[in-house]
Symmetry: D2
Subunit: 382 residues, 4 copies
């Protein structure tokens, strides 16, 4: 806490327009702990440079490719301290290896690599170098996921018996990879995605969550994979039965043809004495039910939640974390207006609440107090 | 879009530890459109300066009070362009007036002021100056609130008949203002909060939302106010009946003694042909029900949602906006570790997913594919 | 309990096709405590007789009108013991009075009468006669409504502060009373319904529920009524503010133009220490939230529920009471088939599960056990 | 419809106190299509006779055992037309066989028998005799389950791809079979229950529902069974992977150690164009989501629902079918009072709404109308 300096961050991939690169940048900005100073944002050198400039970077640090970036950054006094690798799956390994060899910490998207062999090479490098290597299994960053892990760790559920995890999505229900949709194209192409389709893209999230929250290890698995969409080479629906190291049983379902689900990651854990349920689309809640008792809904930010969970929480209970984005929308609209040249345009803002809205609120309060003060009578608001 | 420069932002109030000041700063950082460069963060000059320094500001621009800030900033070439006023209600007026008079745009918390007279003075100043004055009625920044407004505006509901808005909270159910809780103390004190208790603090949000979403104006009101907690001077429960300018009827309920609710703002609007429901604790959803048809759940980011709503959305459907915070938690943990002196501490990170978690995921995928490839047999994961 | 004899029941109104008459009869049959033996089912003598005969009654006890029914039944040895009055509102008073005067107990629909004067006359008759007079405020028969009343009665919530009750429906959103819809016609006609529209039809249910569950009395009210549909003479939207005898405040909203709601009766009660919420469309649940604690969901039939509630429960927890109807559907389909003349039709039952479905289930079990017994392998189900 | 005569019903098992026998009887009574006239209600002749007498049967038709019942009933002119077999699993076969051989239709609980061999014997008998044989897979009697089947049958979902069915319960989480709980004892005993534990008891329901709703057949299965409770001989948790005859994939999860679930049967079906979800604890709703569109909630009784579903519905939309039970509770309380000897007790009914409650409601309406009539002023309710 004492050391609030901002850490020098680099990025590989994630040029302007790449959806997930901007998510990484917003996350890095939120707590003001990082400063993005360098990047090789695209395999196209021109696009890489333009992206960096739009992000306000020094053009000397907008690199043509990650190899240049490694060699030049490592010679600088103010070299980046950590790099975020946000490329498609098959392009994680090479840059991750190069930055580790240069002594630079790494933040990398999942799945780590497209083969176990490469994954283990990185693991060895990390052990030898002592560097930090974070994999962005995003969902374990939710406060209530941490809370679930703590509850299980201290025995609130008794021995774990059954683990149900599912991750249904609908977005690959038809062959959109043949229509020019880039996300779909690389995620269904074995040369980019590796051997797993839905398995690698979302199944790995679900699998990590199981082990993360329970603290158990899966020992044996049995899988039933299927590609429903004609012509698709990788699974778009995966069932995996799970045997855990303590004797618990489980099932994992990942699907990208589950019509009606956007991002329905759901985890349910049944112990001898209680159960937990967490659903990613309502992430601030955790359902806890002791055997033969009523179901309780724990909420992020409430008194029922432990200290370590509370530390990950930026807003009080009842304010979903998306409130920050709502708030940021107002700030964005202020910014949009302030960069306009013409003051008259400002006067015509239709949606941003202005002083008029402020006056109206005060008017409401005073009139309501007056109405009640007279015993509850009707008064005009003009 | 073309102009991506960051706008120079100042802040009055919101010193380190003040909950809402940090919310303003996170919102301002999220899209990287503002740079906080000056502030008078506290009525205690020493605390103001310390806050500014912790935020990484130039110490010359950490001011003792807003009066100094106005006079000195307005003489600088790089003067702040906009100031955020995040003080308690009774301290909005003076700084807002001063900055407007100095030609600086203002972002101000709600309720605007503690009297209608002051509110109208600010309104006049804004009209005369042509400056931007934004009031942070946060909830109108939610994408699905904007969507609701658009739907009503284009006639999806037909003529509006009934508006039900409620804002129940539980946090003032007992006399916590007498226990040293600062937020409770000023919000229940007429000299700081003005004439409305729950009415001013949350009723104004609810009232703004009604008019914002429907595009109607409330013409007459009748209020029934009550302070349930013994010794409390301002209302902690408010009922207000509403007559709208088109003949619609409505009721507003604001309560801070509604046990069980954290921040339960809910808006329901009934038209001749359809109805809408929005609930702040699940802000990504909007319930829409045409007369005698099935209820439909619109979600932020889905195809059903209009363009202007989509522009306010940073993540695809199914990813609640709190996902950004989950993601930011991982980044924060990376930062925490990188500022540690001792590399060995890094090795002991318990929760941040590291290369080991990455390897495990790849192992899972390869083994599952192998199991399915052999017709669905059990395989070991070691 | 010892006395299981079936009580002789008569009915006024509720001929074949009248929706609510059949609901009364099903309710009376469910526990096998009543035997319907007489009736004046319609103001049309022919229709009354036909209805009685279809119901299997002795034709001598199918009367032309309630006056005949009173005079003839009271001369029989096996006279009805109780009569159910299920006519429109304005036709409750006369039969209720006549049966009471003949010494016969009464079950009567709500609202009791169309004027307070008549209501009080019946009250006097009941007091003088010592007869039973039940008014079918149906919702207080739900087990979880009884549970709520018990919890409040024993102080689980502390002193009650706020009562929110609402009863929104959509069915009168347009002028269906002008289209031949009989239910709508009499309920919107002051000569049949009395002075209240939505107020009498559903507001009285909501009002009864408030007082029933809290054990409090409403002392003062203020109402805001509106008829939104052009030409309608009675309110179709009603707001009523409530002051209770212990100082609690409340609001009642009844609406029959609330698009999207079928029968959305919802009651929320806030005390000093906890709150309760009950929703008629999910009647087996009761939400209970102690101050600053997690929300708990009590369910009918669970261990958390008291003895007197348990007595009203016919099925275990998790089996919604509608399960009885699902079960009855199967029995009904059996009956439908058994009354067919042609056995061949029976063989063609498409939906009723037959022995084939039974065999299939046993096949599934044996095959699954065999699969697991061999360590989890794929087996054919033929 | 024309033939409303009541069918003569017999029962084997289900003596007074046996939970499921009474459910059968209530279901049979609801629509007044059956008359229970004979039974062998218990293996204990005395208990059988007492049960029959309490149910109001002619004592000559209360039999010591099913063998006597078959032989004597078949000699009567007014012989039962259909028998309901409601004994534990291992006692289904013998009476079912005997009644079929005597030419009497059968209604039988599930699972049909404890071995496939016996099940097929019954199947043969049914084919040869042309008799009706219904198996009470209760859940297919729900209107919205029928609606789902119709929707799939007419192609609303396109080709079915994925079927997720789960049936979690908590009641066998500990070894309650060793504590004298009779239901638990026979259901966990292989000699009574057969080879399947949770598989037979609830897995067969889930399995039937899959095939019933989709109209598909399961061709291959793979099972992973486990008994978690120490000493238990039959599975209490079952995973079964499913391959359907059209290429669809599925998973079935049945568990009786799933803490927190009472009777959580849930079915989800994903087709090429849309998906459906139905949950037994909210049986009046069916979630329907077309690809990339908003989720729609169909409700029993609404306009969106087809004719054949509507026929199975006894109450309008928004009135959960449990409303009938709430209503029946009021009737039951009337009956309880009318069989009391002492009229004074009647006067002290605490909960049944009486004429006083009726008067109160009328008073409310008249006062509210008066308040509104004076422009919305406070009036006393005494």
């Amino acid at each position: 806490m004492g050391d609030n300096r901002r850490i020098r961050l680099g990025m590989v991939g994630g040029g302007i327009g790449a959806f997930f690169g901007e998510v990484h940048r917003m996350a890095a900005r939120l707590d003001n702990r990082f400063e993005l100073v360098a990047g090789a944002f695209s395999s196209d050198p021109k696009r890489s440079r333009e992206s960096g400039e739009q992000l306000g970077l020094d053009s000397a640090r907008c690199y043509d490719d990650f190899a240049n970036m490694v060699s030049q950054e490592s010679q600088r006094q103010d070299c980046i301290e950590v790099v975020a690798v946000v490329t498609p799956n098959h392009l994680h390994f090479a840059p991750a290896q190069a930055f580790l060899e240069a002594g630079i910490h790494v933040i990398c998207d999942k799945p780590l690599t497209t083969s176990l062999k490469e994954a283990r090479q990185l693991q060895t490098l990390v052990i030898e170098s002592g560097l930090l290597f974070a994999v962005t299994y995003t969902y374990c960053g939710y406060p209530m996921v941490r809370e679930a892990r703590e509850m299980i760790g201290r025995g609130d559920l008794g021995a774990i018996r059954v683990v149900q995890v599912e991750y249904p999505q609908q977005w690959l229900s038809s062959a959109i990879e043949t229509t020019g949709q880039k996300q779909a194209a690389w995620r269904t192409d074995p040369t980019c995605a590796g051997v797993g389709g839905s398995l690698g893209d979302i199944g790995t999230h679900a699998f990590h969550l199981c082990e993360f929250v329970t603290g158990l290890k899966v020992e044996r698995i049995l899988a039933d994979l299927k590609a429903f969409v004609v012509g698709r080479q990788l699974d778009d629906n995966a069932y995996v039965l799970l045997h855990f190291n303590n004797g618990a049983r489980g099932a994992l379902w990942a699907s990208q043809v589950a019509v009606g689900h956007d991002n329905g990651l759901r985890l349910r854990i049944y112990g001898e004495r209680a159960s937990l349920e967490w659903f990613q689309e309502a992430p601030d809640q955790l359902q806890y039910t002791p055997l033969n008792q009523s179901r309780r809904t724990f909420t992020r930010g409430s008194d029922a939640v432990g200290d370590s969970t509370a530390q990950l929480t930026r807003l009080p209970a009842g304010h979903p974390e998306g409130l920050l984005e709502a708030f940021a929308n107002l700030y964005r609209e202020v910014a949009d207006q302030l960069v306009m040249q013409n003051r008259e345009e400002i006067a015509s803002t239709p949606l941003l609440p202005t002083v008029d809205a402020g006056v109206r609120g005060v008017h409401f309060v005073e009139t309501a107090v007056a109405s009640a003060g007279k015993g509850g009578i009707w008064l005009s608001l003009e």
